[in-house]
């Protein structure tokens, strides 16, 4: 949908998303839209600044996702969607395309920045995925200061939950059920990285884990191929092994990144009945951002001078 023609290689590039879903244009007030755009810009520029100074793609995606986690407008970290019990339960993953290293956490309730804990799992443990109380135990061992669950809860999310529980369809006015955040980047050394963080679906069953922390489903990066972060109806992305499939289509079938992303969203996931969006960056810095929903909060910036924020 919005890709640079291949051939014009970028030395470094970053793309971010703040979730995909039904975003009725009419219901999104100007003021609100400005808030989302400002949040996306801050994350995009925060990540890009690191790349510009010669920082790693891993640092860039961590920084971008952490900024979105801290922004209550997005469904990750502070301001995450709430479970049916009214609590925030957070999932996140990060992957370093250089050595296929990865770290992920699922169902944590007291970690301010789940993406940082995922990175710590990758760097300081022998594991890839830690869940629930065990993940928080690891956080304490690593000297993270835990926060009370109410840190994550906002009035807007509580209203959304009540709405949903009364049986009213929640509009994604505040990106809710599909408002996962994520980032992908290529750095000047040719390393690719991907990161994703989410509160999951509003009114979800406690313990439900979507695609975000699943390596290969919601998050994947492999040097020389691509880095991918997904948002959308997680169960479908897990079954389709969506993020890895995009990389496999590029690596094994020689598809263009844009074709690979398009096939996943508009053929494979559409056939399964799932919708959502994907952002991806290729080995040559090509950025692809595509979605099968009404909108996707997204941004892209590269060393070739491109800088854009979009919703529809």
């Amino acid at each position: 949908m919005h890709s640079k023609p291949s051939g014009s290689a970028n030395r470094y590039a970053i793309a971010i998303h703040g979730g995909a879903g039904a975003v009725p244009r009419a219901m999104l007030s100007e003021q609100r839209e400005q808030r989302y755009r400002a949040g996306l810009e801050a994350a995009l520029d925060g990540g890009f600044a690191l790349l510009e100074r010669g920082g790693s793609s891993l640092d860039a995606v961590s920084a971008a996702v952490r900024i979105l986690e801290d922004d209550p407008s997005f469904n990750a970290g502070h301001g995450a969607a709430l479970t049916r019990d009214g609590a925030a339960e957070l999932d996140a993953a990060i992957m370093d395309g250089r050595q296929l290293r990865a770290g992920a956490v699922a169902s944590v309730r007291h970690v301010r920045n789940p993406i940082e804990l995922a990175r710590r799992v990758m760097e300081k443990s022998r594991h890839v995925l830690l869940v629930g109380a065990g993940a928080e135990e690891f956080a304490l061992e690593e000297n993270f200061a835990l926060v009370p669950n109410r840190y994550f809860r906002t009035v807007e999310r509580q209203e959304q939950l009540e709405c949903e529980q009364r049986g009213q369809r929640v509009s994604d006015l505040v990106p809710s059920s599909q408002g996962t955040v994520g980032a992908v980047a290529l750095d000047g050394d040719g390393n690719l990285a991907a990161a994703t963080s989410t509160g999951g679906m509003t009114n979800k069953r406690p313990g439900r884990v979507g695609d975000s922390p699943i390596i290969g489903a919601g998050t994947y990066a492999k040097n020389g191929v691509c880095a991918v972060s997904a948002t959308g109806h997680g169960e479908y992305f897990i079954r389709a092994v969506a993020a890895h499939h995009v990389c496999a289509a590029v690596e094994y079938r020689g598809l263009d990144l844009q074709q690979a992303v398009h096939e996943m969203l508009h053929e494979i996931l559409a056939a399964l009945g799932g919708d959502g969006g994907l952002i991806a960056v290729g080995r040559d810095g090509q950025i692809v951002m595509d979605f099968s929903t009404e909108g996707m909060f997204r941004g892209a910036r590269d060393s070739g001078g491109r800088r854009e924020i979009a919703i529809y």
Binding site: V131, G132, G207, I238, R239, V241, H244
Partner: protein, 333 residues
Amino acid sequence: MSRPKLLALLCLAMAVASALAVEPRPLAIAIHGGAGVIDPAKMTPQRAASYRAGLAAALDAGYAILERGGSSLDAVTAAVRTMEDDPQFNAGRGAVLNHEGDAELDAALMDGHGPRAGAVAGVRHVRNPVELARLVMERSPHVLLVAEGAEEFALEQGMVLVPRGYFRTEARVRELDEARQTEALQLKAAAPGATGTVGAVALDRAGHLAAATSTGGLTNKHRGRVGDSPIVGAGTYADDASCAVSGTGQGEFFIRQVVAYDVCALLQYRHLTLAQAVREVIHEKLRASGGEGGVIAVDRSGNIAMDFNSVGMFRGARDSRGRRDIAMYRDAQ
């Protein structure tokens, strides 16, 4: 149409029909009871016989279902449940214990028809995690439920939870003590079976593929650690269009390489044979990354591949062409 022509056509039709009748679609099932450093020197004849009996029981339980026209999904569920109930394997009762001394269980299954999938991770009171994974697939809109939330779902579905003591065996308590002493959170098994994740893959008469995997993970593991078994694409994958795969070994490597899905992608997109795809993933990609383990796989034609880069892998295969074997080490002993 002239009469002789009509007759000839009729004969042809009958010949085709009878050819179809004598050659029914192939059935196949393969199972594993884990891969790892199973020191052959420590394997006494009695022990080997006991493992073989356990594998045979699971293999035949699954195959019996296929033979009477049952689904591959039922077959892999039955095979895995049989091994979960057998305390010598690292799944269900007899699972290895985490650092706190509890069994924390993970399981997944995938139906290649759909495809659809269900998985649970970090459950501590569910007798047969593979059955809960199946309920997640069939009775919830979700794929993966973890820890207390998964157990809450189990209760809602009318499952009876069991106390943690049900899973603990003397052998596993001893292994944990040894591991704690050396603080070796590892694959180097103190005793055979410590990395004995179990799994099954099958092809049924309707041409549907299915895969299931269940495990207690690693001895002395960090609480909350989840390996590849319940991760769709990593330790478990099935798609009617390509193949069904179940893995066992160092789970972290399997997750990072998306091993089970990669086997099917190589088959489907690079047009490798099943054996070639498995060999490339296990002996090239996984080995290059430093990962150890193995996979079992079956494709839509009923070909079975069982390969590993570790010392051994407890395994068994049975199909409608008359094959039935159980093996533990490289030379098919």
